[in-house]
């Protein structure tokens, strides 16, 4: 007993220095930890903010101001000028606006397509058990390869060859399905979908370009919308799958008993409940499409040129990098993203499911 008392006294008599390194209460940081954490946060904030600040002030510099050396504080170091803004917004108005409009149409179009199709696919994968047989898939792939070889080697009309292959496939699958035992599950399908995102886009860009060229999709809005939608579909499916799977299934079962169809349940119950996830996924997809450069540089020339291409174009020519103009384009590019984030912010709130089930 006396021992315990003395240890309590000891705790009270600790020095200021000892307390500096100790938590004042459970769930609070020790002063030393707080100093360290906020120092790191402050440094990181500077690291993130500085490039943005640099872009913003550079857009108000004259070419000679940029060339004469690093100046950081407007009105003190240098006199801000609207020269670069004037060039891009007034002189080259048509060019800038076309790129901006292209980026808008393509980003919004592909995001809508991608989130629409992707969330429906994700919902199906979260709620319906698919059991494709591995054997059937193998037969399908083999027939596809066979058909391709026959088309190329024998020079037959591909429409006839592929119709025949498809017919053989259905006949074979019906006959063989009883002998295939190995089944795939939804997780395998999900992994197959995400695996397409693991593939680096650069390795498929040439085939895509040739394909687009043969069907006349190069340098069109539809072409880029399709390409971006395909590139981002795996991300949407992957993200939305987890949001759908988190919804208590009883809610959907109850709606089913009450007479609702699957589509009705999806629209009226599931989608409203996944609104935070949907908003976050939409924002992410939109930003990915908005910033995309690699596909755009191959698949667009002038008609469908997007903002990232316009930024890169400021680096061309014999005059070197036009930092001032580039920064104007970057500022114009950043503003819509910030606006989107602010608009979608209020949807990305937690607690939508409160009150659904117990608790």
């Amino acid at each position: 007993m006396a021992e315990i008392n003395s240890s309590f006294q000891h705790a009270n008599q600790r020095t200021m220095l000892a307390r500096f390194f100790e938590q004042p209460s459970v769930g609070k940081m020790a002063p030393a930890t707080a100093v360290l954490v906020y120092t790191i946060l402050a440094l990181w904030t500077l690291f993130v903010i500085f490039p943005l600040y640099w872009v913003l002030i550079t857009s108000f510099k004259l070419p000679q101001t940029v060339n004469e050396g690093p100046f950081y504080i407007p009105f003190v170091d240098f006199t801000p000028s609207l020269h670069a803004w004037n060039t891009l917004i007034v002189t080259n108005f048509a060019d800038t606006v076309r790129s901006f409009f292209n980026s808008m149409v393509i980003a919004i179009g592909s995001t809508l397509f991608c989130v629409g199709v992707g969330s429906m696919a994700a919902y199906a994968l979260a709620r319906i058990q698919y059991k494709p047989k591995l054997g059937s898939i193998l037969v399908f792939v083999l027939l596809l390869i066979g058909a391709t070889i026959i088309t190329v080697a024998a020079g037959l009309d591909w429409k006839i060859v592929f119709s025949a292959a498809l017919a053989i496939f259905f006949l074979l699958v019906r006959a063989l399905s009883k002998h295939f035992t190995k089944q795939l599950t939804n997780n395998d399908i999900l992994f197959w979908i995400i695996s397409q995102r693991i593939l680096p886009p650069i390795v498929v860009i040439i085939p895509i370009y040739m394909m687009f060229q043969s069907i006349g999709l190069v340098d069109t809005h539809v072409g880029l919308i399709l390409a971006y939608a395909c590139a981002n579909l795996p991300i949407v499916v992957w993200l939305m799958h987890d949001f759908f799977a988190a919804i208590p299934i009883e809610m959907e079962e109850s709606a089913q008993l009450d007479g609702a169809t699957r589509l009705y349940i999806f629209w009226d119950i599931v989608l409203p409940l996944t609104r935070p996830g949907l908003a976050a996924t939409t924002l992410l997809t939109m930003i990915l499409c908005w910033n995309e450069y690699l596909l755009a540089v191959f698949l667009s020339t002038s008609n469908a040129q997007t903002m990232p291409i316009l930024v890169a174009a400021m680096n061309a020519g014999d005059r070197g990098v036009l930092w001032w103009s580039m920064c104007v384009v970057i500022v114009v590019m950043i503003v819509p993203v910030i606006a989107m984030a602010v608009i979608l912010q209020r949807f990305i709130a937690k607690g939508v499911l409160t009150g659904a089930v117990k608790g």
Binding site: P248, E250, M251, E253, S254, A255, Q256, L257, D258, G259, A260, Y264, I269, P272, L273, G351, V352, L353, T354, G355, A356, V357, K358
Partner: protein, 355 residues
């Protein structure tokens, strides 16, 4: 209510297995129109599976389910005209109380005016009419439970299905809601199938109780019959609080014998390994020298209106419901008597009742 809402329910050799695991074995069960039937069992007994098969949320591996005269085995849930109350309530958190209650009608395309009247009617029945504009998150557990109930009664289904609807409520509220449920079912007269693991709910609510264990129906009878005349060892042990005492011994021409006690019973016959069942309330503490069972007190618990005394009878425990004034201390010698007609005898190896 109109008699058209009263439908019978028939399970005809309904079995269900998930892969190689059998959860329900050939359940045959007939529920009368307007009856309140409780499916009682521990978790994993197959009671919820039986209910989900009736709702159409699971397909049976074999057998048929009929509602009224219609075979509904292959029918989609929405055509079965059943309403279900889930254990978790399954309310739609983004809809108001009124919209939640009206959901089944909205889906069916009922007109605005008619829907409003029906929602108000159902809400009044469960005393929720002042809360129609609230959201589920603003309600207490008991109120959410009522919303789920109102959503079920709003369209006057042929059959009510309830999956442990009271188990998320605290003890006091549960008792209150139990009484309300019973009253409401009586008023509406809708055939109700109620799943629970709580024997008190089963005894108080049911017209008849079906006890399931490991997917097999153990007994189907009125609560009184199940209590007074359990069909086997499992049912005897499952029903009653505190549970029935079980003592192992031998039966010789109707006389049960074990170390530390013997009791004459009304059962004729002999058995090497027998189990004697005595309910705590049927046994008394005896002051006579020649009590049926003698041992010493293991522990005693004052419950309030009575004391539960557990005696150690040569290694076997026997609990007796004694008056609240009882003042024995653990270790004291004790004698216990029981009337012959309160003794239930079971075959210790099969669990079958001996009569």
């Amino acid at each position: 209510m109109s008699s058209s809402n009263r439908a019978s329910v028939t399970f005809d050799k309904v079995a269900k297995s998930f892969g190689s695991v059998s959860v329900l074995e050939e359940l045959t069960l007939a529920v009368e129109p307007g009856e309140f039937l409780v499916l009682l069992g521990a978790s994993g007994s197959g009671k919820t599976t039986a209910l989900r098969i009736l709702a159409g949320l699971e397909t049976p591996s074999s057998g048929h389910v009929k509602i009224g005269e219609t075979n509904v085995t292959e029918m989609l849930p929405k055509y079965r005209n059943v309403a279900m109350v889930f254990q978790s309530y399954a309310l739609y958190p983004h809809k108001t109380v009124g919209e939640n209650i009206g959901f089944p009608l909205k889906v069916r395309g009922v007109g605005e005016a008619e829907m409003k009247a029906a929602i108000f009617d159902a809400a009044r029945q469960v005393e929720l009419d002042p809360l129609l504009d609230r959201y589920p998150r603003q309600l207490s557990g008991g109120q959410r439970q009522r919303v789920a109930l109102a959503r079920a009664i709003v369209r006057r289904p042929a059959v009510f299905l309830m999956d442990e609807p009271l188990s998320n409520l605290d003890a006091k509220l549960r008792g209150h809601m139990r009484a309300e449920l019973k009253h409401m079912q009586h008023e509406l007269g809708i055939t109700t199938i109620y799943v629970t693991h709580d024997q008190i709910e089963a005894m108080t609510l049911a017209h008849r109780v079906a006890i399931l264990e490991k997917g097999v129906l153990q007994q189907l009878a009125t609560p009184r019959e199940i209590y007074n005349n359990p069909a086997n060892l499992f049912v005897a042990g499952f029903i009653g609080a505190p549970p029935m005492n079980f003592l192992k011994g031998t039966l010789k021409d109707g006389l049960f014998e074990m170390k530390g006690g013997r009791l004459g019973t009304s059962v004729k016959g002999s058995l090497e390994h027998a189990t004697l069942g005595i309910r705590p309330e049927d046994a008394q503490i005896s002051t006579k020298k020649a009590a049926a069972f003698t041992g010493h007190i293991y522990t005693n618990e004052l419950i309030g209106d009575h004391t539960l005394v557990t005696a150690d009878i040569d290694g076997q425990m026997l609990t007796v419901k004694a008056p609240k004034e009882f003042a024995g201390a653990p270790g004291d010698a004790i004698g216990i008597d029981a009337p012959a007609n309160a003794a239930y005898l079971f075959d210790a190896s099969t669990g079958a009742r001996l009569r």
